[in-house]
Symmetry: C2
Subunit: 333 residues, 2 copies
DNA sequence: TTGAAAGCGCTACCAG
DNA sequence: CTGGTAGCGCTTTCAA
């Protein structure tokens, strides 16, 4: 079923059908009605590929995330999706599972689709891919990572500040032995947080004992990392987790180990996902406006903000401390 | 950047470039290398729309789900995505948020993309849409709902059986006052579960007291529904939740109300999402092989299983009872 | 207000 | 093994 058949049935040219369907250009009322009816009767569904090809422009933006299992990414996705929908755009999602090969193929896929823009919510990119994208003239917005190129822009959260905040808070509560639970230690954004942790702790006093454990992002990863820490004999009074989702895994492990939170061990997260409030005990964490970020990313893509070559956009958000029940004074030795 | 430019640069015809890029037909080694290099140098990215248009066939399947916030859907998505990727297909996802308008527009979008198949993981469809789809000759697979059409097929879970199982279990534990926590009561699949609950309870004894509360799907919905039940003065010793995600919300509400689980109230879920194991207390629930379902849906779409008109496929899975800490003997009155 | 026709970028078929 | 070329279905001038 195609335009031509609709045109034939309505006894008009394909040009007219196109005008009617796209609501552009002048069309006599009666003709219009006739076309609409024909399309209806024929159950005509325009071929989007043909449309894109002929039109040259795309009403689609792409988003690639690392891990849809982590509610953080789902929320960002939903924010962007909603923003896109409300502006008559269409968002297509891809998931990498932190796999670089998936990332590369997904990016190529998006390029092949000639998306109007690409939002990357991932933890790192190979320089090669960065290069490939920068040569492409399609607007790209990164979350949390990004290189300064004319068609790039980024939205970043001041993770270091957040980590610093929470560590200081724990320090004040008397914690002197803390573990940092992370994932993908080598990825840029993650290592920033790790460094913030180390720096804050060391700046405070050389006598603070600390340790870093990492596993995969997720419930299992959090659990695994926490287990490692416990098994090592290091006996932390606090666990600072790189995100809420992992923190929930850690919480579980502690419970299984017979440790009470926060009496025996304090636990903190990052992101303030909805679950952080609902889990037990509710997590002390840092809030990040995830849906907002999704919206901002979309906006950034389609709003052609002309600016000097060197000055790509960069928006920095500060996370907000949220105090809940998973933290308390350090247990007495 | 297009085929023609690559062809010019490699000093061959576009036909040859196409052959090389698609790895079809005979091409001399040296030519092949030349083309590849040209494409590389020009940073050529094939236009997928043109490819689809010209080729006529699509290597893309679509999936529409109701609520990506609920991990259940994420898992199904991941299963399908993985299956698709491994077979060289590409999965595009859409989310409806239980909004019928979003569903309709997403379906049209998928049709417009000429997907090779469409997987619907949603709770209900308007007859009009069903009709529209059935006239379309594209394979459709439903999860949990579906009408018998030649191009439809469905994978369903025996929810009634699961609910029956869990209710009987609670009955044996002495529970005599139970609440059923649901969402979207009028949607087909949901009402089936509700009915199963009612039937089981009533069959057991007329003296069993029961109540049904419903709210939105999700943490808040579960919490809200639980709150309603508690506020109503009805004092259940058990809450049967239509899914784990809502159960987690209910768990939270009970905790806030100062009720202990399972000592004061037993709680059950459905799906056995990863969180069910990690939350506190861990949920007694019914396992559904979500990733598997995703895989099956994909398979069903691309494997052209020819069969008699009337006999569309229908695969029924039985959920498996999983006993955890959120349930126990009914409290003494 | 409408139609004819030139592409959009690619695949696939037919020759050579 | 390679090139020419006819579409795929739609949008968009340009004329009428």
């Amino acid at each position: 079923m195609n335009l031509a058949e609709v045109a034939k049935r309505a006894k008009v040219s394909t040009a007219t059908v196109s005008r009617v369907l796209n609501d552009v250009g002048p069309v006599k009322k009666s003709t219009r009605a006739r076309v609409l009816r024909a399309a209806e009767e024929l159950r005509y569904h325009p071929n989007l590929h043909a449309r894109n090809l002929a039109g040259g422009k795309s009403r689609t933006v792409g988003m690639i995330v690392s891990n849809m299992e982590n509610p953080f990414f789902v929320d960002v996705y939903k924010g962007a999706e909603q923003a896109a929908r409300s502006r008559g755009y269409d968002l297509v999602l891809a998931n990498t599972d932190y796999n670089p090969e998936n990332l590369a193929s997904n990016i190529r896929l998006m390029i092949g689709r000639r998306v109007a823009g690409l939002a990357l919510v991932i933890s790192e990119m190979e320089p090669g891919l960065i290069q490939e994208l920068s040569e492409l003239a399609i607007p790209v917005v990164f979350y949390d990572v990004g290189a300064p190129k004319h068609n790039f822009s980024n939205i970043v959260v001041n993770y270091a500040k957040g980590i610093e905040r929470v560590v200081n808070y724990l320090l004040e509560l008397g914690h002197r032995r803390m573990a940092f639970i992370s994932h993908h230690r080598t990825l840029g954004p993650l290592s920033v947080r790790e460094r913030a942790f180390r720096d804050t702790v060391q700046n405070y006093s050389a006598s603070i004992e600390w340790r870093i454990a990492a596993s995969a992002d997720g419930l299992d990863g959090g659990r695994q990392a926490a287990r490692e820490v416990l098994a090592s004999g290091f006996n932390p009074t606090a666990m600072i987790c790189v995100n809420d989702f992992m923190a929930m895994g850690a919480l579980h492990e502690l419970r299984e180990a017979g440790l009470r939170v926060p009496q025996d061990v304090s636990v903190t997260g990052f992101d303030n996902i909805r679950l952080a409030e609902v889990c037990y005990p509710p997590l002390t964490t840092l809030h990040i406006p995830r849906e907002r970020i999704g919206q901002l990313m979309f906006q950034d893509l389609i709003e052609p903000v002309p600016m000097p070559e060197a000055c790509r956009r960069r928006l920095v958000l500060d996370p907000e401390f949220v105090l809940r029940g998973s933290t308390g004074a350090a247990r007495k030795p």
